[in-house]
Amino acid sequence: MLTGINKIGDLEWEVPIGYVPDMRVPGRFFLSRTLAETLEEGAVRQLANVATLPGIVKHSLAMPDIHWGYGFPIGGVAAFDMTEGVISPGGVGFDINCGVRLITTPLTEADLARRKRELIERLFDAVPTGVGAKSALRVSNKDLSAVMVDGARWAVERGLGTEADLVRCEGEGAMPGADPDAVSAKARQRGVPQLGTLGAGNHFLEVQVAKEIVDPEAAKTFGIAEGQVCFMVHCGSRGLGHQVATDHLRTLEGAVAKYGIRLPDRQLACAPLDSPEGRAYYGGMVCAANYAWANRQVIMHEARKVFAHLFGIDYDEMQLIYDVAHNVAKFERHDVDGVSTEVCVHRKGATRAFGPGAEGVPSEYAAIGQPVIIPGSMGTSSYLLHGTTAAMQKTWGSTCHGAGRVLSRSKAKKEVRGKELRERLAGEGIVVRAHSDTALAEEAPAVYKPSQEVVRVVHEAGLSHIVARLEPLGVIKG
């Protein structure tokens, strides 16, 4: 383990004030000894850097999938005071509202048996993936403004989903406060042709089977049963979100000097929440977040059509369990020293995990807490969990977002051959479809921490509890 860090619980560690100069609060992160072996010093330093930002409340936090990013570490969570605090694109990332949704089907693994490859090929045809992917949707500039304000509702109102889908999205598939004027013409140009596209990198659409139900009561409430075929969509706000982040980082760079903020890392550029620059970033970020919810809604719709057509099932038999964002900043009410207080929570590679009864959890899930969806890496388990009261108390209602990488892209390409990987996965019954084998190698399971260990830590730390384990059957990637 790195020096200068204190163990304060079985799975909890503290980065004391002074680890880097000017820290206002201590850092805290959650990690098992096994995961601690791969912890990078750079990630801890980034966690400590976040603690220097004005108005940070209580702690700079990181989830067990913490790793070295830029600005905030990946897995980083921090809340800021609404008056004294700041908002920072470095606490959200370039892929605003990258997120995950999980959908059940009435099918079992046996139903897919001989048609799995055909299903994956049809999904690959129906959902544009990879670099340069363009949507079949015709979206006007005016439509785009509506998408940025209404999010998933925009798609549902055009028949690309149902009202029930909206209830089962974080924030009902849209955040308030969108400011389309804070989205540049360039961002719009990138957004228009990409609505309903998956993108590349670690984004995917995966067909899975619920292999193990760990919490039967919660599983029943969420509508998932053992042996049920599901599918998962992982993607974000595409070029529109990337451009919004790029544009506002630039503006906020100037704001840092204007507001006399001292930063240890330029990527932490920020502005007071209550400043023109801070408000503009928030309004633009909300537009991108809403675009991402619409994007995942459109992709789900296309996938539902493929399943319905191929297996003769009804569209409505495929129920969305939930949709979660894992790169976003939100205004939320939390308990701060016994007082319910509004704060701006940044989650960068972290998932909201609101517990039972928390405001914002759909009423049908209120007794259990919100569903939390943790995608595994390609070929490994994904998990459905639920949020907890402990998360509300310790992490601003947050948990991990994925496995977290341990191997660089360059090493992955040296050590893993895409073709061999595809064939090995096929041997395990997992059909993989991508534009190129090279891209596959970069996302091989071996480049990630084991997802079960990350999930075990959040479960044992009480930040969310496992409901079901899902195993992959087939995946399409960019």
């Binding site: 370039f94 990879g130 990337h242 660089s408 090279t438 960019g478």
Partner: protein
């Protein structure tokens, strides 16, 4: 003039070298396009861009961000970058080919250019910079 990929677990970290600043900027463009598309040939596409910034580092970020924008909205892949720097003002002629999914799908989307650790350093034999591309 060269670029090398260094170890970085989450993103792509490139060390880029150039004998002159013009070369450094050209090579940074090549490095980014190699991440996104793999091999590329000049096939008649030509584009000019002009950018101005308050310092060299910001200019490099703005230049690379502009390349990301252009490649995406114009469906073009660039292989050569003739860069002409005058202080913190840049004009560049980009040459390449139309995006072809059959030949350009070996890479990945670059989401943005990170400011983290980005510093252009003057060495005896030229300039060097390390850039993190968010993928």
């Amino acid at each position: 003039m060269s670029f090398d990929e260094l170890e970085h677990t989450a993103d792509v970290l490139m060390r880029v070298r150039g004998a002159t600043l013009n070369e450094l900027f050209a090579e940074a463009g090549r490095a980014m396009f190699s991440v996104m598309y793999g091999p590329c040939e000049e096939r008649g596409v030509e584009r000019r861009i002009e950018i101005e910034a308050e310092n060299l580092e910001s200019l490099l970020i703005d230049y690379l961000s502009e390349l990301l924008f252009v490649t995406e909205v114009e469906n073009t892949v660039f292989c050569t970058f003739d860069v002409d720097l005058r202080g913190t003002r840049l004009s560049a002629v980009l040459r390449g080919e139309p995006f072809d999914p059959a030949r350009h799908s070996a890479g990945t989307v670059v989401k943005g250019i990170s400011y983290f650790g980005l510093e252009i350093v003057k060495e005896e034999e030229g300039y060097v910079v390390e850039i993190i591309f968010d993928i």
